[in-house]
């Protein structure tokens, strides 16, 4: 029978299946960070349980770490306790940790691929919803809660029910200035924030195949914003080339065996999907979000919606609530939205290609005088690479601050946050109320669009700045 890529990975990880459909799934790779793990380790201690496979587990502190000078440590007391607790837990349970001063430290979803810990055909979990990122490698990767983190630590398995198969085909070529961030924002706008609930999404089509590994990660990363726990893309030569020689990638004979297995990881022709939609890449434009849900998208050429043109009462109320929070007027042009801050970074857009894309727009330009802008590389290795290429100088010369790696203002758990009513063009993934700081207003955009907004002082069309 023809099966999908998701079916194949699922079947290959079944430890046990009960009559009621509940399955026990083997977990090949477990990523751990400081925010969602302390209670899990505490649970292990309380029940006298061990970590079953410390060597299949990798930990890093990313959410709480400062992005400014780290030589003085973490000044926030609670953040420090959480980071110290992770360190103590990793020591006690013998888990590899990239500490705050390790060059390899960074956002958990950036360091996994960077180290070759992320591999095709594996089941990867982490107590973080953006674990979907790793699906770009053809792995089944999804976020879990802390109780499940404890379960994985203790058993190296997870209790799961099979999800539905959903395929999104994107064909054609992207217009100049349009990126994979715009593709995923367009998809979320189309399917809605609950459109993928109960599903695993496979992204396919010639556009998807033409994307670089990093661009694919941006798409898979925001799958959760479309309601699906996992998004995946069949692995190909680009993925294998990316992984070859990475510190934790298979070596020698193992590499050959792995490659042989990875080459078969694809959906069979004729496999049935529960849901399927098609998009034409050529019609996608630079996108922004105007509201407080990632599904609230418009193109940069559009106007902010008017609640009065909405017939459905719930939707109308929802638009009114969002406009009020965002401090926007109905029918105003996207380019009339003036911004105060720009944030370039996060597990969505904090990789080297993202920084290159923004730097290309910022080269020899200054950011608007009323804009405060920061760039936070996704990892120490991304930072190092960017500095080797001189990107840091381009950012600093244009007026950006060049920071240390971490999650930073994507969720504002550290000191980087918006003040009430401050407005930010952000390359992150969530524009929820209060996400970047209480009362803060977030517009999600691509790195190039964030750079364009920084220069113009308002949301603007990146294509204006492209040579």
């Amino acid at each position: 029978m023809s099966t999908t890529l998701y079916d194949k990975i699922w079947n290959d990880h079944l430890v046990d299946q009960q009559d009621d459909g509940t399955a026990l799934l083997f977990v090949d790779r477990h990523l751990v960070h400081e925010v969602t793990s302390p209670q899990a380790f505490e649970g292990l201690r309380n029940s006298n349980r061990k970590v079953r496979h410390p060597n299949l587990t990798l930990a890093v502190a990313d959410h709480n770490v400062p992005t400014t000078d780290r030589t003085k440590g973490i000044s926030d007391k609670e953040s420090k306790i959480q980071v110290d607790t992770l360190e103590a837990n990793c020591k006690e349970f013998n888990i590899q940790l990239f500490g705050m001063d390790d060059k390899r430290q960074g956002i958990v979803h950036i360091i996994g691929p960077e180290q070759g810990f992320t591999q095709p055909g594996t089941v990867i979990v982490c107590g973080d919803s953006h674990t979907a990122t790793h699906g770009a490698f053809g792995s089944l990767a999804f976020g879990i809660g802390t109780s499940e983190v404890e379960h994985v630590l203790a058993t190296q398995t997870l209790v799961q029910k099979k999800a539905k198969n959903f395929r999104i085909n994107v064909d054609g070529k992207l217009p100049l200035g349009v990126t994979s961030k715009d593709v995923i924002l367009q998809i979320i706008g189309k399917i809605g924030t609950a459109g993928g609930t109960g599903c695993v999404i496979e992204y396919a089509g010639d556009l998807v195949r033409s994307l670089s590994v990093e661009q694919r990660m941006t798409i898979c990363n925001m799958t959760i914003e479309g309601g699906a726990r996992a998004g995946l893309i069949a692995p190909d030569e680009k993925i294998f080339k990316y992984l070859k020689g990475k510190p934790m990638s298979p070596k020698g004979d193992s590499w050959e065996k792995a490659l042989n297995y990875w080459n078969n990881l694809k959906t069979d022709s004729g496999a049935i999907f529960d849901k399927e939609i098609n998009l034409n890449a050529g019609e996608i434009l630079p996108m922004i979000t105007w509201g407080t849900s990632p599904q609230d998208v418009i193109t940069i050429n559009d106007k902010v919606p008017n609640p009065n043109s909405e017939k459905d009462e719930d939707k109308k109320n929802s638009i009114e609530r969002s406009l009020k929070y965002m401090g926007l007027k109905p029918d105003m042009s996207a380019t009339d939205i003036k911004i105060d801050k720009v944030f370039i970074g996060s597990c969505t857009n904090g990789r080297i290609e993202d920084l290159r894309e923004a730097a290309k727009i910022l080269k020899d330009k200054k950011i608007s005088s009323h804009v405060n802008a920061i760039v936070v590389p996704g990892s120490g290795l991304v930072k190092e690479q960017a500095e080797q290429e001189g990107l840091d100088k381009i950012f600093v010369n244009s007026g950006f601050e060049w920071r240390e790696p971490g999650c930073s203002m994507c969720l504002a758990m550290n000191a980087d946050k918006l003040k009430p009513e401050e407005r930010c063009a952000s390359t992150s993934n969530r524009n929820f109320e209060g996400r970047q700081g209480r009362g803060g207003r977030t517009h999600l955009v691509s790195p190039g669009m964030a750079a364009a907004a920084a220069i113009s002082g308002n949301l603007d069309d990146v294509r204006k700045y492209q040579n």
Partner: protein, 201 residues
């Protein structure tokens, strides 16, 4: 885990769709290393003003909703971040049952790990039940019978049989899975042969 069987309460109603876990418990409260004590910060930004005073308009600040054990809310409840702090905060506040027309996947499964029952009903039934919140009348939830009783009416809901059993009996699913240790071990032994690179061998 606390068992869930039957529950009677005046429900609280939040007529908002897409309530995300950032709204349920904002990030500044994720710095805890404990599971308890989050109830006072549940829905923090909607519940308190800039000075930290309770906002009277917000349902959960009003009597009797400040003692509600059942929360009725708009569709796609619990979307966004995977933080289990969201169900912990609800539980600590005293809410052990949520009724909505849909939930985000991760939040939904997190509820069951904490003795919270998330019930899925059609939107028109949600509207009917919300009237009981408005009138401050009790409704009754029976997990074993899979039904909600309100006034002279009752409506059936569906819940996964395994999840139901765990809730009814308050089972620790790690202990359940560890009972399958033989199967896990045999899977691992196969894996070492078929995919040696997984264990970095």
């Amino acid at each position: 885990m606390q068992k869930f069987n039957k529950l009677k309460s005046i429900p609280a109603y939040l007529p908002i769709v897409n309530i995300d876990t950032d709204m349920i418990i904002p990030k500044q409260f994720l710095k805890t290393i404990k599971r308890t004590g989050l109830g006072k910060n549940l829905f923090f930004e909607m519940r308190y003003d800039d000075q930290g005073k309770e906002i009277n308009d917000f349902a959960l600040n009003q009597n009797p909703y400040n003692g509600s054990k059942i929360l009725i809310a708009g569709k796609n409840f619990g979307c966004g971040s995977s933080r289990e702090h969201a169900p912990w905060a609800l539980l600590d506040f005293g809410i052990t049952c949520i009724i909505s027309s849909s939930y985000a996947d991760i939040f939904y499964s997190n509820c069951f790990k904490n003795g919270i029952l998330p019930i899925i009903l059609e939107e028109e039934k949600i509207k009917e039940l919300s009237e009981y919140a408005n009138r401050k009348e009790e409704i009754f939830v029976d997990l074993k019978e899979e039904k909600v009783v309100y006034g002279n009416n009752e409506i059936k809901f569906k819940v996964d049989p395994f999840k139901k059993k765990c809730l009814l009996e308050g089972l620790d699913d790690i202990a359940l899975s560890l009972k399958k240790s033989d199967k896990i071990e045999s899977f691992e032994n196969d894996l070492k042969n078929t995919k040696p690179w997984i264990f970095n061998d």
